[in-house]
């Protein structure tokens, strides 16, 4: 029957709308390039990122060192390219982890309400009262250093922020009549959370999440700086900015280029986030 065909046509719709959304396309293109750089770093770097060359220390950009050298004579370009690996994976994975755990916490707290909700949200409030860095140090102290632990740590640090963000909209959405209608049909609580609440609170969380990727990349730097994350010789965008900051006036290339890398990445992820929010909203779909 013709109905079947019409329903199936709807499936291609999402991809078609995505293609039409220029913002999301550009963002995706940039992120694909950044990921490619992370994977191809060993082959495209002109120098070894760890090789020290005291003769050429603190050189401004020139032909051999396109982005200059740092205080140990290491090539900044190579270090930026290699730094993509740590920064990108820590930034994206930790936020993803925090988003999933935090949103689940906030949505359950908001939907269940009463005592369960109060307990979850009071815990969230306690965690939120610590600055990102302090709670990061606390969790790393418990879990120990290492990149996988670092991702886990920052996920835990960001989870309460997502929980707070998910909680408010959940309170609004759960009072809508379509949630009551779902309960009357006999939809389970889990399905209400995944099919009714989450799609309707998703937009704001997604946008905030993409912005926090930048914060996560910088937090990684701070934690690493304190010896709690990735150990020093390994280049990350965060620790490059940190070590370059003292020479901002004399050798600005040390922190400008990793800074630009963070900026580009965060911007691209944010563009994808914005695009995704528009694409998943049926009202904005063409």
């Amino acid at each position: 029957m013709s109905n079947t065909r019409i329903l199936e046509e709807g499936k291609g719709k999402l991809w078609r709308t995505f293609k039409k959304n220029k913002t999301a396309l550009v963002g995706t293109a940039i992120i694909i390039i950044v990921i490619a750089v992370a994977i191809l770093a060993p082959w495209i770097s002109p120098h070894d990122p760890l090789e020290q060359n005291m003769v050429h220390r603190l050189k401004p950009p020139d032909r051999t060192y396109p982005l200059g050298t740092d205080e140990y004579g290491r090539d900044v370009l190579s270090r930026v390219l290699w730094g993509t690996r740590v920064s990108l994976s820590v930034g994206i994975l930790s936020i993803l982890f925090g988003l999933v755990v935090g949103t689940a916490m906030g949505a359950v707290a908001g939907y269940k309400g009463a005592i369960v909700g109060s307990i979850i949200m009071r815990m969230v409030d306690v965690l939120l009262s610590f600055p990102v860095l302090i709670s990061g140090i606390l969790v790393v102290a418990i879990l120990g250093p290492g990149m996988d632990k670092l991702i886990l740590t920052m996920g835990i640090v960001f989870a309460p922020r997502f929980a707070r963000l998910a909680y408010g909209p959940t309170l609004v959405v759960k009072e809508r009549e379509y949630v009551d209608s779902a309960r009357i049909i006999g939809v389970s609580n889990l399905r209400i959370l995944t099919h009714y609440l989450f799609p309707n609170i998703f937009g704001g969380i997604l946008v905030a999440g993409t912005l926090w990727v930048g914060t996560a990349i910088l937090t990684e730097a701070s934690l690493s700086f304190l010896g709690l994350g990735v150990s020093p010789p390994t280049p990350t965008w965060g620790n490059m900015i940190k070590s370059g900051i003292d020479r901002l006036t004399t050798a600005p290339w040390l922190s400008i280029f990793p800074g630009l890398s963070i900026l580009t990445t965060v911007l691209a992820i944010n563009m994808i986030g914005d695009g995704l929010r528009d694409i998943t909203d049926p009202k904005l779909r063409i």
Partner: protein, 329 residues
Amino acid sequence: MSEELIFHGEHLLDVQRLKKFFPIKKGVFRRTVGWVQAVDGVSLHVDKGETLGLVGESGCGKSTTGKCILRLLEPTEGDILLEGKNISAINPSEMKQFRRKVQAVFQDPYSSLNPRMSVGNIVGEPFKVHDIHPSSDIRERVADLFKKVGLRPEYMSRYPHEFSGGQRQRIGIARSIALRPDLIIFDEPVSALDVSIQAQVINLLDDLKQEFKLSYLFIAHDLSVVEHVSDRIAVMYLGKIVEVAKDTELYSNPLHPYTRALLSAIPIPEPKQKKKRIILQGEVPSPINPPSGCRFHPRCSEAMKICKHEEPIMSAIDHHHQVSCFLYR
């Protein structure tokens, strides 16, 4: 009347002395300082194949009654029986059966459909949840339902915002009949619609009732709409039912002073005919602190001394007519 429509013994739905109080909490420790007595001892029943209209002003507790019957709210007191079975003490698997038997359509067609689901999926959701048909079959079934409520099946892949209020209400109705329920509770199903659309939707409800042998509990504040659809009508005031009668009987012979005031407010399409309007004085009292005795006495034109001190009980005038008023003891 066909054989299966004749009811044997029990009512389809029987609500007995239903009470729903909401706590008012104040202060840091969320101390309960009072109760909103939204529903205070409501008893009603719906027979198979019957439409019971439930009317009353905003805030009189008619929607709360509906929500208690739907188990969206936990009653404070009282029993709700479906086919003789008490639904307040049922286990999860019985709950699932209950969901198949009792469905609802809500007032606001703009918030009763999930904006992130295509309308085809919304109407097909009951099938999925109750695992009734294989997923390949669901589309066909949804298409059938769409036709039943007068929507084109081609619209299945669209989203709720692409429809008008009347169309959305039809989608809600299609969802409510998907499981072939026995009872559908309509909570002001047409009050958000244009008058011309109201008539269409009401006619649709009539047709569906005939076709699927449904019973309706029809909650509304518009008496002319209720008159059209109902077999019996219950009038509610401030959490209590004050009068129940067959529809013709209620309109031709209203007994309770409140019912009379309500009926006098229905406009009649006859400009020359002068009609005596009974205008009620004052506001509806607060259900937090309802008046003593008969709850209507502060606004009643025929209030007597006894009305202030004693609460009237429901008494039968005849087989089809009951009223709770001291005038008819």
